[in-house]
């Protein structure tokens, strides 16, 4: 097609100008893509950290009544018991996974001549899944049988294991918890955890709730952890928890001080909104860069057309229609943009690759995550580029199409 040949010829003539525009578009594209990639990386990193404590879970603690109810005064303490946890699960079908959580601070662990004191947690097997606690290779988390048979088995946080065993294998070994022998069944796989209650999982130990009760004789739970079956119904499930508990302990279900709750779902929704906001913000900044590049391109197109008036006049004189001329210059604009966009995308892609190859062990990178180049980002950028190219082309092209051939051919 002669259009393309002409484009490359004109490109040669306008070399500096067109190269500069391409450069501007490369820069615009790269800044959009890299910013979005970094934003995506940070979002994913933070999300992963948040999920370190568990994804879509609600933690319930005991509280005090703050409203009088049926003749009962305020300031009544509402304690949580293991039966309550089971009752909640039985009566509220919206609850998916659930585990009560007993905590004993300063439990004393020894192995050979190593010892340390840390917290012991008594939980149900579902706790592992709820809180994203996964075992390292060769180990496992607590199971139903452990719970049912009150086995003396313990799952260690990776820091605890480190302190007691160092590099040595821990699974299968016997540790003493307050002088009672426990078999180590698993060690926590190292994870990124950016939020917690009662300390990080890496410093904790987990034993079956049944074993815990026998050993320590706690009557009250520290908390109950559950996840709603359906995240969209999380609010209703929370209400039901107040109702069921209120019925048993005789408090007003509207009295939210009776039970304190930490709803990570709400937190994540909030975070999702913030990160969308950040992405939109970065996108707008990048988009503005592209628009500036587009304005530059439009300017150059105007200049090209001014220099090509005579040739445009010739084309019109031999029968080019408006749309022939318009298509030609839009095509030229789109080609320039595509060249810049392709280079920009390629450049950003390689940069992201390189950043990801560099071995960065620092904490900062774990929290910030690594830049992620998503297909969506690339597609959106390509779309915006197309639009910029089209808009930068259409106005100069329309001017070109309205060149008067007689005037254009007169000027020598």
């Amino acid at each position: 097609m002669i259009n393309l040949q002409q484009f490359f010829r004109e490109l040669k003539k306008e070399r500096t100008r067109i190269l500069l525009t391409i450069l501007a578009i490369v820069w615009g594209t790269a800044s959009v893509v890299i910013m979005l990639a970094i934003g995506e990386g940070v979002t994913r990193g933070l999300q992963r950290g948040m999920h370190g404590m568990g994804k879509g879970i609600v933690v319930v603690w005991s509280g005090e009544t703050s409203k009088p109810f049926k003749g009962l005064g305020i300031g009544r303490r509402i304690h949580l018991r293991e039966e309550d946890a089971r009752m909640l699960q039985e009566q509220i079908p919206g609850i998916g996974l659930m585990s009560p959580e007993y905590i004993r601070w300063g439990a004393y662990f020894t192995w050979n001549d190593h010892s340390m004191s840390t917290r012991a947690t008594g939980v149900y097997p579902a706790y592992g899944q709820l809180r994203n606690i996964y075992p390292q290779k060769g180990g496992r988390f607590l199971n139903k049988l452990d719970l049912k048979s009150r086995r003396r088995v313990v799952f260690l946080g990776n820091e605890v294991k480190e302190r007691l065993f160092g590099d040595k294998e821990a699974v299968g070994e016997t540790v003493y918890l307050n002088r009672v022998p426990f078999t180590v069944i698993g060690v926590l796989k190292k994870k990124l955890q950016t939020s917690c209650y009662s300390g990080m999982d890496q410093d904790a130990t987990f034993i079956p709730a049944s074993t815990f009760r026998v050993m320590f004789g706690h009557r009250h739970l520290n908390d109950i952890v559950y996840s709603p079956r359906d995240i969209s119904r999380a609010k209703q499930v929370k209400e039901q928890v107040y109702q069921v508990m209120g019925k048993k302990y005789k408090f007003d279900p509207k009295d939210k001080d009776t039970l304190r709750m930490w709803d990570t779902i709400e937190m994540q929704e909030g975070f999702g909104k913030v990160s969308t906001g950040v992405r939109i913000f970065l996108g707008i900044i990048g988009g503005l860069t592209l628009i500036v590049a587009g304005v530059g391109l439009a300017n150059i197109m105007y200049a090209v057309i001014r220099n090509r008036t005579r040739e445009i006049g010739i084309k019109i004189a031999v029968g080019a229609k408006r749309r022939n001329i318009i298509t030609e210059y839009i095509l030229q604009s789109l080609l320039t943009v595509s060249a810049g966009g392709a280079i920009g995308l390629g450049f950003s892609w390689s940069l992201v690759k390189v950043i990801n190859i560099i071995p960065l062990k620092q904490e900062a990178f774990q929290y910030l995550g690594r830049p992620v180049m998503s297909v969506t980002t690339a597609l959106i950028t390509a779309g915006v580029l197309g639009l910029v190219g089209f808009l930068a082309g259409i106005f100069p092209a329309r001017r070109a199409a309205s060149v008067n051939p007689v005037d254009a051919l007169r000027c020598e």
Partner: protein
């Protein structure tokens, strides 16, 4: 057939109106061969532009093959320029970066059709004007006479029925001028309307009809 009645062309230069053509009546039957003579500024080019649909009259009526041109859309005018009229300019007006072949192809691109046929016909036309061996040359690599013959080949690309030439030999020496004029003679013999603007009375003498312009009016119309 070309028919102009009371055609005026007035250019506005700021507040002053410049009348390039002040009322021309002209009728050209099919297969006429005529030259237009007149001093500089008498409106010859303007008249040719109007006949070639490069420009439209300010006043008056121009009928091309019976159709009033003033009622046509810009696309329809483009089609007339593309298919019915072949225009040859004094200053050649070739695309500088394109080869002779590509220049001849240009009107055929806007007409549509296959690239192979286009190339074939462009080659044939160049051969016809004696430039078969110059197809790959760019205008700067050609002499003035050769350039004008490329321009003629381009004007003939879509087999027009009207060939308009505005001082086609103005930039040529007499030998290459004669070669160019011979091509017009042939076109006339093939049945085209051929109109040549010229200052050269030798050329004018070859044509059966001579129209003389002065100050935007026809002052003489000789038929031999």
């Amino acid at each position: 057939m070309i028919k102009l009645t009371g055609v005026k062309k007035i250019y506005q230069m700021g507040k002053i109106d410049v009348a390039a053509i002040r009322g021309i009546d002209l009728k050209v039957e099919n297969n006429e061969y005529l030259s237009v003579l007149g001093p500089s500024g008498s409106g010859k080019s303007t008249l040719m532009h109007i006949i070639g649909c490069l420009d439209t009259p300010t006043e008056g009526e121009y009928r091309l093959e019976g159709r009033d041109v003033s009622g046509l859309s810009s696309n329809q005018l483009a089609e007339i320029r593309n298919k019915k009229v072949g225009f040859v300019f004094q200053s050649f007006n070739l695309l500088p970066y394109a080869t002779a072949l590509e220049n001849v192809e240009l009107p055929m691109i806007y007409k549509g059709g296959s690239a192979r046929q286009r190339r074939k016909r462009a080659g044939e036309l160049l051969a016809k004007v004696g430039l078969g061996d110059r197809a790959r040359h760019r205008p700067t690599e050609l002499s003035g006479g050769e350039r004008q013959r490329v321009a003629i080949a381009r004007a003939l690309a879509n087999s027009p029925s009207i060939v308009l030439a505005d001082e086609p030999t103005g930039n040529l020496d007499s030998t290459s001028g004669k070669e160019v004029i011979q091509v017009f003679d042939e076109l006339w013999q093939q049945g085209c309307i051929v109109i040549i603007v010229t200052h050269d009375s030798e050329i004018a003498d070859r044509t059966p009809r001579i129209v003389k312009l002065l100050d935007g009016r026809v002052v003489d119309d000789m038929q031999r």
